[in-house]
Amino acid sequence: MNSYLKKYFSVIRMTWIQALEYKANAIVGTFAIFSGLAIEFLIWKQVFQAQDLQEIRGFTFNGLMAYIFLCMIVGQLKSSWATSMEMIDSIRTGEMNKYLIRPISFFTYHFMMFIGHNSTFYIVYTTVLILFPIVLPGWAFPTILHVIGFIAALLISIYLSYSIYFCMVCFAFWFGEVRALVIAYNISNIVLSGQIIPLRLFPDSVRNIINLTPLQFLVDFPVSIATANLPINLWIPKMGMALFWCIIMTVTGRVIYRSGIRVYGGYGA
C-alpha cells in the first residue's frame, strides 16, 4: 500500500476505533433503518389493499417493497450530512486549523471519516444484500451483472453525494453558519432522489426537472439497476452522466474551497 493510501486508510481506522469506544451507539445506529422500513411497509400495504391494486406504475407490492428497502440502504450509505455538519462546525469554530496545519486534504480526510463512520453500515448491509436474493428470490438482483452494476452505481452515488454536500459546507467560510442550507438540501434530497417514493411515481413534469439534476443518481439510479427497473443498455450512458456530475461537483467544490480558504478566519484560538 503506498503512503497516500496508508495515510487515508489510517483515518478510517481511527473512526473504527472511535466507534468501538461507543458500542451501544454503533449498534443502535446500524439497525435504526429497519424502523423506517416497517412504517413504509404498513403504509404501502394499506394503499394496495384499500384500492385493491395489483401494481402501481409497474410496481407490484413486492417490487415496491424491494425498491424501498434498497432505497433506504442506499440512502443511508450515501448520506454524509452528519459529516457535513461536523465540517461546518470545524470551519465556524476554527477546529479546521488542526487539518490545515497537517499535510492532509480537508476534503479527502473527511471523506475517509465519513466512509469510516459508515463502515458498520457497509458490513451489515452487505450481509443483508447477500441474503436478499436467497431469502426473497426474484425481488431484486436477477443476475450477477445487476449486482456489479448496483455496486458501481452505489460507489458513484456515495462520492457524488459527498461532493454535493462539500460544496454547501464551503459556504461556511463566508457565512459561518450554513447548517440550515444543508438541512434544507437533505430534506429535499430525501424526497427528490427517490429515497421515500420511487421517482417513477412522481408526475412527469417533476421527473423531467429532477432528470436535469444529479439527484436522480443518488438513490434511484443504483436501486433501479438492482431491481431491474432500468434497461441494461441505459446503464453505461447513465453512468457516464453520473460521472460527469461527479467531475462537475468536485471541480465546483474545489473552486469554492479555494476561494473560501482565503477568507477563513481560523477563529477560536
Binding site: M14, Q18, N97, G265, G266
Partner: protein, 330 residues
Amino acid sequence: MPIQVNELSKHFKMFKREAGLSGAFHSFFNRKYETFHALKDISVQIEDGEILGILGENGAGKTTLIKLLVGLLHPSSGGVNINGFTPWNRKSDFLKQISVVMGQKNQLWWDIPASESFLLNQKIYEIPETQYKNTLNELVDLLSVQDKLNVQVRRLSLGERMKMEIIAALLHRPKIVLLDEPTIGLDVISQLKIREFVKCYNEKYKTTFLLTSHYMHDIQALCKRVYVIHKGASLYDGDFEKLVNRINPKRKLIFEFSEIPDTNKTKILSEKYIFNLNDTILHAELPDKELTNLVSELFHLGIPASITMEDLPVEDTMRSFFMAPEKFLE
C-alpha cells in the same frame, strides 16, 4: 535565515451590533461592518535554532501572526518566506517542516488514547517506522508520560494533555515549532517541566521555536530575544533583558545589619537614597548603579548579617509596560 516576514498585514471585516434583541433584529436587516486591523506592516527575521518570544497583550495580534506563519490565514498584504516556502500555499513539504501547538485548542482525538493519534500522525507525516518509534520513545521519556499513552485523551489532566499535544507536534521532527500559550492553565510544576523540555529540545535539535505566552517566566526562561506587538503593530524587537531593564531598571536590595546602625548616619544616607529601614533590615529598590553605591556606603554603617540583591518580578515589570508601552520606548 529560515523565517522572513516582510511588511505583513492582516485585516478582518467584522460586523458590529448593539446588545439585546432589538440590536439583533436591527442587525439582521442592516448589518454594519468594520475593518479590524489585526496586524500592520510586521517585519521580522528569525534565525535557525532561535527561540523567539512574541509578546503583546490580549488582542495584540500574536496569534494572528502565528496563524499566518503556519499558513492558516492568508494575509491582506505583505509576505512570509519560510525556508523558501510561502506558508498559505500549504505545500506538503512545508507542512512537514513546521508544527504548531495551541494551548487553547486540542489537536488530538478526544475519545481515544493519544497513542492512536500519534499513529495517525505517523501516517499523515509519512514517518518511517524506526524513526517514529525512536522519536516517540525519546519524547515520552523526556516528558515522563509512559503510563498515560493508552488513556483516553479526555481523561487526562490538562498538563498531561499538553504534553501529549507537544509529542504529537514533534513526532515528525519539525524544523520550526510555534507554541501559542503552551503553559496556559497549567500548574507551576507542569509549566516548569514544559519550559525545561522546550529548552532541552532546542539545544539538542536546534529547532526554531516561536513562543507566545502571558507567563513572563516562560519568556524569561526560554527567550533571549522577544518581538513585541501592540495593537497589531511592531513595538520592539530585541533582547528581553534589555527591554526589562529599559522598562524598570531598578533592582531590589535587602541589607540586614548585624546590629542596629547609627541613626544619624542613616539619616544622612536617606537624603541621598530612597530606602526603608526597620531595625536592622534595610529595603531599597534602585537602579543598578545607585544600588551598588548604596551597598558600598552601607558597609561603612555596620557589618552586614546578610545581603540579598534581586531583579524586580518580571511579571510586574511587563504588566506596567503593557499598560503604556509607548512611554517606555520613546
